[in-house]
Symmetry: C2
Subunit: 316 residues, 2 copies
DNA sequence: TACCTTTGCTGACACGTGTTAGCAAGGTCC
DNA sequence: GGACCTTGCTAACACGTGTCAGCAAAGGTA
């Protein structure tokens, strides 16, 4: 469209005098685009409280969305509340695309939408389903954590899974850790495993169960939040960390560095996961021929005090 | 409107067959209501990361909004990024109302909007400005914390303010705590005060400064997040908590109970603050004659291990 | 001068819904 | 039987924008 400079200035001046602001709703109606992305949490509210990485994910998501001219709808919709609320977000044109946090393989609503080709990006993985997703390599990250503990010299090592193996991340971290041990001289089949349920309290119970059962030197807890409870239980049982029991966590939540002892853990790039999820979603929405793609972000082992690597003499 | 039962069923059946879903955008255009509330964070992103209560506030906000038929837009818009982005949320009809978290008295954009009568609810307080808001009684809550420490028997007590006194909550907690001491035989004018800046690291520095300066028995830290760093610094200085130094925090963030020692603190009803903020905003939006109201929620002193009340013998 | 192109602006239309006036059919009352 | 009401449905309009055809004026070419 061609507009003379003179007219352009006159129009802008008039707009200012009349305090004119374009109505986003009318614009949406005619363009057919909302410019909105929904961040959908499928966990129960109580469980979402325990997830200390969500704020960073959400901000990464928001910043990437804003950079591309989008806004973010915050939509924690637990599976139980379901009744098609997620489907209605798309069908009713509330948003252009959806990011799903904490997907579960028994989530029929999300599965239906993915199979119908809805613009959905998963934060996580859905084994057996082709879908656009953002995730880390849980298997390899946990494997590296295992190798670290082995390299320090520990042999009697246990695992506290932060959640049921129905959660693909819990399964992958468990499997990866075992693989890391297998490459050493440890026997994976004898590694004691306790399963927790996202919360610190569940971590404490899992640790109690492990300590009752075995004489361990080190424990891998596949979530920092769960590890906090586990460490507490270990101390209550009279174990000093890391002298009597080494602990390695996963996620690197903001306070991990401030715990006593500071927690050795695998850093999850939460902000980057959010940013990547937004970018993939926007690409999915804007491309004429969207291809399903998987983004895998790097993790990093953050060695602090709880694993004992800084204080324990190297193995003989 | 009167519709016969027969027609109603036929229409619903046809809607199902055609997979009809009402278009929310068209509905918004004609009604002039968006059914959206914006949660606006004014803190810098980095600082927002340190705030462990936001997730609960956000979920309380969301749940109340959904209960009233609204949705929530997540809009962290730091003051620096400003340039009218918040004003445009209302002027461009993105949302019906706004909840502002972390308001600052030097925030000209928000001040303009409030004075213009925009539908804004503050999470917090703005001294000297009549505005609808949700908050706790920071003064009285801190006063109760002081009285608790005094009742245990401590006399040499310091304060770590979690933020600059430019933040009204930091000022109120400081003042309230001093008042609580004044009612005892302590001399408020000699109470050492260090000022931190939201983060655990700033709390550690503040604690180091206090310990260098005085022989203290107890410290009140006006935020749990800051207290985590402060406790770490105290331990690094060789002080056992609570035997050598008692600590009381503020907020009761989710992990406060899992710290070692478990943190005695003032419980901030984060979920309720979010819920109340949404309700006030919706009332502001829907009422023809909206009156500015202030909602003040109750706090509760949660006594755990870090104050020593459970282990220290009562004062003689 | 006749014709074509370029520039710059105007007006009509469409998006999908909520609202409301209007209308036909049937019933009631005196 | 006529006036009036009730019931149940239909059709027109408005919300505020983006798009695009159309048109007038100016400029260029033969």
């Amino acid at each position: 469209m061609r507009i003379s400079e003179e007219t352009r200035i006159k129009v802008l001046e008039a707009a200012r005098q009349l305090d004119y602001h374009p109505d986003i709703t009318a614009r949406r109606l005619v363009t057919g685009k909302t410019g909105l992305l929904a961040y959908v949490e499928r966990q129960p509210t109580q469980q979402a409280f325990a997830d200390a990485t969500t704020p960073q994910v959400l901000r990464g998501l928001h910043d990437a969305a804003v950079a591309a001219g989008y806004e973010v709808l915050f939509a924690p919709i637990p599976i139980e509340d379901g009744n098609g609320r997620v489907e209605r977000l798309i069908a009713g044109r509330h948003v252009d695309g959806i990011i799903v946090s904490g997907p579960r393989t028994d989530d029929d609503e999300i599965r239906r939408m993915i199979e119908a080709g809805a613009p959905i990006v998963l934060q996580g993985t859905w084994p057996g389903l082709t879908v656009t997703s953002v995730d880390i390599d849980n298997f390899t990250s946990a494997k590296i954590a295992a190798e670290h503990l082995v390299s320090i010299g520990y042999r009697r090592i246990g695992i506290i899974a932060h959640a049921s193996m129905a959660y693909s991340a819990a399964q992958a971290r468990h499997d990866g850790f075992l693989r890391g041990l297998a490459d050493s001289d440890a026997d994976p089949s004898t590694v004691p495993v306790a399963v927790a349920g996202f919360s610190p309290d569940s971590g404490a119970q899992a640790m109690e169960a492990l300590l009752r059962q075995d004489e361990l030197e080190a424990v891998f807890v596949s979530s920092d939040t769960v590890a906090i409870g586990a460490m507490r239980a270990a101390r209550d049982a009279g174990r000093r960390i890391p002298q009597d029991l080494a602990v390695v966590g996963f996620d690197d939540i903001p306070i991990a560095v401030h715990l006593d002892p500071a927690l050795t853990t695998v850093r999850l790039p939460a902000y980057g996961i959010g940013w990547g999820a937004a970018e993939l979603t926007i690409r999915l929405v804007q491309d004429d021929q969207p291809r399903k793609s998987q983004l895998v972000l790097d993790t990093e082992l953050i060695v602090r005090e709880s694993c004992g690597a800084l204080t324990r003499p190297p193995p003989d």
